[in-house]
């Protein structure tokens, strides 16, 4: 639409001009985790991200625990608030045919359109990537899904917690004599946004040179397999199916998680070579143990690792976990307390890195959002705006981005196109 101002960036966090992605405009249909985590990285670095949501098809995270004060509400989820900070929101009823025109006009404004619905959903609404790219050939469209578009299982519903099992992580996690454990949460969801960010920015670079946009697709199952690629080759080459080995490591011993004083307190210790084992023996007050023929070399120690672990555990059991870690580190041995989430908030290194940023949310109050693990020295990320309330920015986006009048907006609200 030629009458839509293309420069409008309503209420950008801070002044934005020194941020790496300032000026980038993202129309964001993403929901749940993988997509919103990806677009939050873009927003944290200065992009204007407009989240499109619908009251009639509620974003799962808005109704997910934890809720502020334990009281449910669509604007009270800490899960949603974390992944959607720094974004604007627009409530649009995609089931209403009038929504299509709004989306197409926003796609003229946008540089990037992101979504992670089951394949076919955007097409069913008439706003599939081919349609959007035809209308705006300079657009980058990004789609993520459990299984990717096409293939016999493209439409199967799924969630990260069980995709983590399908993708091979559970089989590799836990005790050999117990059922598999699974890394917490929708684990694979958190591993993959990084690749989407890299590809979108690569496509923007290409667009700058060629004037052409493109479509990017990410299959969560496929991309996850890269993390386990050596095990997939091992099966082909050696015919072996690698399995969970608790905390054992072929190249290190002792290498374990040892009980410490208090309830459910643990310290991880890893001796990377024989010299570190000798140093640990000194720490444990058993210097002669290093010369015990059962434990001199790695191959010796691996032979009776249970006995070795019992010796270390006998030393750690009555000590404070932080004290064990500090003593090991002082002796040059890698060690770390198994942090609870409470421990993360108190961790001096994470505090130094400002891993948790604090934003003021109109319903939740002051709360923590976690931040990306990369710090850009020249163009740091900013964490200033809380996640949008449902529909909070509907009017503002329609005015500032689409150039609609108050009357036009009222009419669209009355028709149930806008919410």
């Amino acid at each position: 639409m030629t009458d839509a101002p293309t420069h409008a960036t309503p209420d950008a966090p801070g002044d934005g001009h020194r941020q790496a992605l300032a000026g980038l405009k993202v129309l964001d249909f993403c929901w749940v985790v993988i997509g919103p985590m990806l677009t939050r990285t873009l927003a944290d670095h200065g992009a204007t991200v407009i989240r499109v949501e619908s009251k009639s098809r509620m974003e799962t995270l808005r109704i997910s625990q934890p809720f502020a004060g334990g009281v449910p509400g669509v604007n009270r989820s800490g899960y949603f608030a974390n992944y959607n900070a720094n974004k604007l929101g627009l409530a649009l009823n995609m089931a209403n045919p009038g929504a299509i025109d709004i989306v197409k006009r926003l796609a003229q404004w946008a540089n990037v359109v992101t979504e992670n619905f089951t394949p076919g959903t955007m097409e069913r609404w008439g706003i599939g990537h081919e349609t959007l790219l035809a209308a705006n050939p300079a657009l980058i469209t990004f789609s993520a899904s459990m299984f990717g578009d096409g293939g016999p299982q493209a439409r199967q519903p799924g969630y990260g917690p069980v995709l983590t099992s399908l993708a091979g992580f559970s089989h590799l996690t836990g005790y050999p004599w117990r059922p598999p454990s699974t890394p917490y949460g929708a684990y694979t969801d958190f591993l993959l946004p990084h690749f989407g960010v890299a590809a979108i920015i690569g496509a923007l670079d290409q667009r700058r040179r060629t004037g052409r946009g493109t479509h990017i697709e990410l299959s969560q199952l496929e991309a996850s397999l890269h993390y386990l690629a050596p095990a997939l080759l091992d099966y082909q080459v050696n015919g072996r199916i690698l399995a969970r080995e608790a905390n054992a490591d072929p190249g290190m011993a002792p290498h374990g998680v040892y009980p410490c004083a208090g309830d459910d307190r643990w310290c991880a210790i890893a001796c990377e070579d024989d010299a570190q084992w000798r140093a640990l023996c000194d720490l444990m007050g058993k210097p002669s143990l290093a010369d015990d023929p059962r434990f001199v070399r790695l191959t010796d120690r691996k032979r009776d690792e249970a006995a070795l672990d019992a010796i270390v555990a006998a030393w750690t059991r009555d000590l404070d976990a932080g004290d064990v870690a500090a003593r090991c580190l002082a002796a040059g041995i890698a060690a770390g307390v198994a942090h609870t989430t409470a421990g993360l908030f108190d961790d001096p290194q994470l505090k130094h890195r400002r891993h948790f940023a604090w934003v003021d949310h109109p319903e939740i109050g002051r709360h923590a959002v976690d931040t990306d693990a990369f710090a850009l020295a020249l163009t740091p990320a900013r964490h200033e705006r809380p996640a949008p309330l449902l529909g909070q920015y509907t009017r503002r986006v329609c005015q500032d981005v689409l150039g609609l009048s108050e009357e036009e907006i009222d009419a669209l609200l009355a028709q149930g196109v806008l919410e």
């Binding site: 109704i63 997910s64 004060g69 449910p72 800490g78 899960y79 974390n82 293939g151 199967q156 069980v162 099992s165 091979g168 559970s170 836990g174 117990r178 059922p179 917490y184 949460g185 591993l191 990084h194 690749f195 890299a198 590809a199 690569g202 290409q206 493109t214 479509h215 697709e217 990410l218 299959s219 199952l221 496929e222 386990l228 690629a229 050596p230 091992d234 099966y235 080459v237 199916i241 690698l242 608790a246 009980p259 991880a268 210790i269 890893a270 990377e272 890698a334 770390g336 307390v337 989430t341 409470a342 421990g343 290194q349 891993h355 709360h367 976690d370 990306d372 693990a373 710090a375 020295a377």
Partner: protein, 408 residues
């Protein structure tokens, strides 16, 4: 897509994963290895279980689509050549201990003078500054401090890491790729390079789902529950034994959960075992993540009985048919056979002459329309040393002298 850009990859096993996506998108990634080979080559498993730098499957898997240049950067001449290489490069990735490259005159403050547009990516356990910046770390101690360890494993046993895949380094490295590209965007617009300082601890702390918010907002500490999963105030089962292994099945509640239970009801009927509990419960009532514990417990018992006498593949196929959120707990064999990546042409056959095999490697991390994902095997030690040094203007005699002197 990124064909115009050159990446100098100085990482070891702690950062080898980082440049993977840039290489896949077409960047010219030069892996700089010490003449004895990259430390990643020392990590198993090995082909035939024979430890050898050209038989490491860790290396083969993670170093695809790169060229290899051997260069001893501890040697003055090696450093000079690296600086020449950096002067025309766009990215540098490194994962050495904090301060090591600075001590060689190859730190960010040195290299920015040679190339102000350089995106210099440092991957370290905890970041380059702060009280723990110089502490040693391994995958296990790293995931402990990142918070994922505590929440993973059996409630009555010590918490566990993921075996055979060092999440601490891999997730940190993946994050580094995103950070590098964000910095790249700024460089393209302004010509300014910058330091990208990656903390693997933070990368792990970003994989914890809503657990940090559960502490911040509700003072709830998420604990490990084996086959079960603590979600706020309720506990949901994830893993069930079946006749020949395990399956993972997840009831989310909400409309998706209601559709899934309709599918499970139909599945039970199809198998001739209609289930009164599933059919008699109004699943529409439960919102996402708020199903009462008593209902979840009854569902747990019901599903466990149904799954226990059926095989993994049979259950996986039934789940697709009935649109139930159930997947097999896959091992490497299951994954290579899984029909979906195969139907999408995901696996890339690549010949690996050193072990006289053609192997199927994971294909595109992302698929970009109009871009063909390269599929080049990981390089041998120094495979491209001559061509890269020739491009730098060295004569064959000079290259030979560097080799003889152990510099290249």
């Amino acid at each position: 897509m990124l064909q115009a850009y050159r990446v100098i990859d100085l990482t070891d096993h702690r950062g080898i994963f980082a440049a993977k996506v840039l290489a896949e998108l077409g960047a010219d990634v030069i892996k700089v290895e010490p003449p004895t080979g990259d430390p990643s080559r020392g990590i198993g498993p090995f082909a035939g279980d024979v430890p050898h730098p050209e038989r490491s499957l860790f290396w083969m898997a993670h170093a695809v689509n790169r060229r290899s240049l051997t260069l001893d950067i501890a040697h003055g001449r090696g450093r000079d050549l690296l600086r020449r290489l950096v002067s025309s490069a766009h990215f540098l990735f490194e994962s050495s201990n904090v301060g090591y490259l600075d001590s060689l005159g190859l730190g960010w403050d040195d290299l920015r003078r040679i190339n102000p547009g350089l995106v210099y990516v440092s991957i370290t356990p905890f970041g380059r500054t702060g009280p723990r910046s110089h502490a040693p770390a391994t995958d296990l101690t790293g995931v402990a401090l990142g918070g994922s360890l505590f929440m993973t494993g059996e409630p009555d046993l010590p918490p566990v890491r993921v075996s055979h895949a060092p999440q601490f380094w891999l997730v940190g490295s993946a994050t580094a790729a995103a950070g590098a590209m964000v910095a790249h965007h700024h460089r393209v617009r302004t010509g300014e390079g910058q330091l990208v300082d990656v903390s693997c601890q933070q990368a792990i702390a970003r994989t914890l789902s809503h657990a940090p918010q559960s502490w911040d907002m509700n003072r709830v500490i998420v604990k490990r529950k084996g086959a079960y999963r603590q979600l706020g105030s309720i506990t949901v089962r994830i893993t069930y034994p079946c006749a020949d292994g395990y399956v993972a099945c997840y009831f989310p509640g909400g409309p998706v959960g209601a559709r899934m239970m309709a599918g499970l009801a139909a599945w039970h009927r199809d198998e001739g075992v209609p289930n009164a509990f599933i059919e008699g419960t109004d699943w529409q009532r439960f919102e996402f993540g708020t199903t009462p514990q008593a209902v979840l417990d009854e569902m747990d018992a019901t599903l466990a009985a149904f799954f226990a006498i059926r095989r993994k593949r049979e259950l996986a196929e039934g789940a697709v048919r009935h649109r139930v959120i159930l997947f097999p707990v896959s091992d490497a064999s299951d994954l290579l056979q899984h029909p979906q990546p195969r139907a999408r042409g995901f696996w890339q056959p690549i010949a690996v002459p050193d072990i006289e095999r053609t192997l199927e490697f994971p294909g595109p991390l992302v698929r970009v329309q109009g871009h063909e994902t390269p599929a080049r095997r990981a390089p041998r030690i120094g495979e491209h040393t001559s061509e890269i040094l020739r491009d730098l203007g060295l004569t064959p005699a000079e290259i030979e002298a560097l080799r003889a002197g152990g510099v290249a």
